[in-house]
Every structure is written in C-alpha cells, then in structure tokens.
Symmetry: C2
Subunit: 213 residues, 2 copies
DNA sequence: GTTATTTTCTAATGTTCATTAGATTATTGG
DNA sequence: CCAATAATCTAATGAACATTAGAAAATAAC
C-alpha cells in the first residue's frame, strides 16, 4: 500500500466532490442528499456511513474550499524571492487566487456562492477562517504599500474588498477557453495598478478636480 | 383617492418587501412561505390571494431587482449633459449602481445573490434581462472608449465583468455608516481609471516589461 | 345598516426530504 | 476458504413545507 487510501477514503472523496459540485450549482437547501448520492454512485442512506448529517458534509466542503484558496495564495508568496518587486507579488497572489477559484473550483466556488445561505451556526464557524484569509490579503497589500508601490490616497481596505469582489465574482461568468486564467490575472493586475484611463483622461480628471476646488 | 392604492396593493407591496428581504438573507429554497408571511404580518395561506405560487413571488422580486438597477443606471446617463466628460459619465453610472444596490437594496441584492440557485425555468427568463443591463454598461464603456478616455490595451469586456463584480460583491460586505456610498463610488472610479500603483511603481513595471522584452 | 365583495384565516392534504435501523454485500486478515 | 470487519443498500419514520378549500372577518357599495 504505497499510497495509503482505503476504500472508505475513496468514497469519501467521491461524496465530497459530488457535494461540492451540487451545492455550488443548486445552493444548500435545494440540494438533496439523493442528488449528492446519485452523483457519487450511491444510495442516500449510504452517505451516513461517512458523514453524520447533511450539515457536517456541507461544513467539510466549505472548509476545503477556504483552505485551498488560502493555501494557494500563501504559497504564491512563499515561493517568491525575498526581493521580488511588489507588482510581481500581487500578480502572483491574484494568479493563485483565480486559478484555485476557476480551475479546480467546485469547493471554493461553493464556499463563495452559498455562504450567505447556510445555517447560522455553520456560518459563524466559517467567519474566522474567512477573516484569516482576508488578513493574508491585507498583509500582501500592506507590504506593497510599505515598499512605496501604492498610492497613498487610496484606502487599502476598500481596495482589498473591491479586488476580492472582482476576483470572486469571476466564478459567475468565467467560461474556460476564451481567455486563459493567467492572461486574466495579468489583466486584472494591469487594471488594478495602472488603471484603465488613457493619459489624456487622467489629465482631464485632474483638471476637473482643480476646477471644482 | 388621490393616490390610487387599494388595500390589496398595500398588502402586495408588504409581501414583496418581506419576500425580497428573506430571499436575500436565506436564499430561495431555505425561505418558507411562513417566514415571508410572518414578516408581512400574515398567515402563509393568505399569500395565495396575491400570488399563485412561491415561484411567482420569487420571479416578481427578481424582476423588480433587475429593473431598479437598470433604470437607475439608465437615468444617470440621461440626466447628464451631452458634453459631459467620460469620467463623469462613468462615475455617475457607478454611483447609481451602488446606490441602488446598497441603499434600497433588498430586491437588487436578492437578485444578485440567489440567482444561481433558483429554479431553472425562472433563471432562463431572467437571462435576457441581465443581458440587457449588461449591454447598457457595455454602451457606457464603449462611449468612453470612443471619446478616447480609455487605454486601448485593455479588454472592455473584461473590464466590465471585473467592474460589475467589484460593485455587486459590495452587497456582501458593505455596512452603512463607515463610508458613504458616494465616497465609495468616487473611490471605485479613481481606482478604475487611474489605478492604485504609485508613479514609481508604474515606472518600475514598465522597466520590468522592457527587461523581459 | 344591510348586502356584496375583497381580503385574510384556519385547518387539512399530499409531497418531499433528512435521517435511521436492520439486512445485505464487499473486503480484509488469518 | 473462513470469519470478522467495513461499506452499502433497502425500506420505513417523522418532520417540514407548499398548496388548497372553505370559513371568517374586513371593507366597500348602496
């Protein structure tokens, strides 16, 4: 047994995959254990050999989802040379976040899209995990700011929320094929750092501001 | 009867408000007619005098949600002088979008957050309405581009999806009090048009690019 | 104020679903 | 091969819920 993996482990994973996929598509309440079981080639009752309740299954899916994206973004920073330019660090983080979300994404997507609709008790337990992930992003942006790479007239907290919003929302519209995830990450960073305004527009804006002042 | 408003109309509105609020919080499947009825000071059975089914109620909530934000953004453009600078047009649109979402937002928020989890048939009927709204934003950005206000190395479609993502996601985190919605709209536009990178960072980035090339 | 109409309530009905208990089948260790 | 354990299945239970039908209450018309 080179790879320690009992039959139970295999079934468990199959169930979790099926659950993540179904929760993501239909939401928590609308997903029946029958659907999950069918997608995992089982009968509904058999799920209880592996999980004590629908809620426990949900919670494990959510945990996997947040952990994966957290770990991916964290590793993207650890794998970076200490003297990497701030721009590259941010780009690596955006890339890792998007890749986790869009490529192997049922768990993370499920976490994002059904979060507001799960039982209160479970949601409460998820909040600290989300906060920890949020803090990771805060550190990444704060480091860039200390390195002098960010303007000082933008609110870092709002930047973070808006950026994570733009990234997380991609699960609602991204379809593979057209644009690669890496290209998308590049694009996001370009927009984020340099803006989408033409140079003339920037001057125009500045002029407007003076006019008002 | 200056304001034509029968008792029926009043109840109907009360039910719709309650439904929007509850759908938004709990999701579609997890919301029971009992909850909606209680929030509207009624018994569950009484809802059927006004609506034929839970689905019909849902669909009306969704319609109101998309219509409100669509109309708000549309009016923001119509109320603008023909020679208004592109930056101001975009800012007005962002402001209108955010205000609708966050201020009187149960309907629009419900539409956004439960969309993926509603019955297939209803979702199909919502899609064209979403497309129409998306097209409105496409026109706004395309107009700015024709006016030479946008860089030509960004993909307008992706800009739109990322911007709408950042805006829509705000329903998940925005709490009134701290920052005003108008200030937030300004901030979004600043970031969007000018970017968050410091000037040195921009130069640094450009240098990196040359180094690679 | 009495009647007709509108609106709401009460009390079923039937369905769907999570969960359970016990039977059945597969897998593993000797 | 044979037991012992693990994994899955089958069928039943009970609760929650959308929906309905008919009674009751409120409102409007005259």
């Amino acid at each position: 047994m080179a790879i320690e993996q009992s039959k139970s482990d295999i079934s468990r994973t199959r169930i979790l995959d099926a659950a993540a996929k179904t929760f993501r598509q239909k939401g928590y309440a609308a997903t029946t254990l029958n659907e999950i079981a069918k997608a995992a080639d089982m009968q509904a009752g058999s799920l209880y050999y592996h999980f004590n309740s629908k809620d426990e299954l949900l919670e494990e899916v959510l945990d996997i989802g947040i952990n994966r994206v957290h770990e991916a973004v964290e590793e993207s920073q650890e794998n970076m040379p200490a003297d990497a330019p701030p721009y590259e660090r941010i780009r690596a983080a955006v890339d890792a976040h998007l890749t986790t979300l869009l490529k192997h994404g049922d768990y993370t997507s499920a976490n994002i899209s059904i979060f507001t609709q799960i039982p209160e008790e479970i949601r409460q337990r998820q909040i600290p995990k989300r906060d920890a992930f949020s803090a990771l992003w805060r550190r990444i942006l704060s480091r860039a700011q200390k390195a002098g790479a960010l303007r000082d007239d933008v609110d870092p907290g709002m930047v973070r929320m808006l950026l994570l919003g733009a990234l997380n929302w991609s699960v609602e519209w991204y379809k593979p094929g057209k644009t690669s995830i890496h290209a998308m990450a590049d694009h996001v960073c370009l927009m984020l750092l340099e803006g989408i305004g033409a140079d003339e527009a920037r001057r125009g804006t500045a002029a407007d501001k003076e006019k008002v002042a």
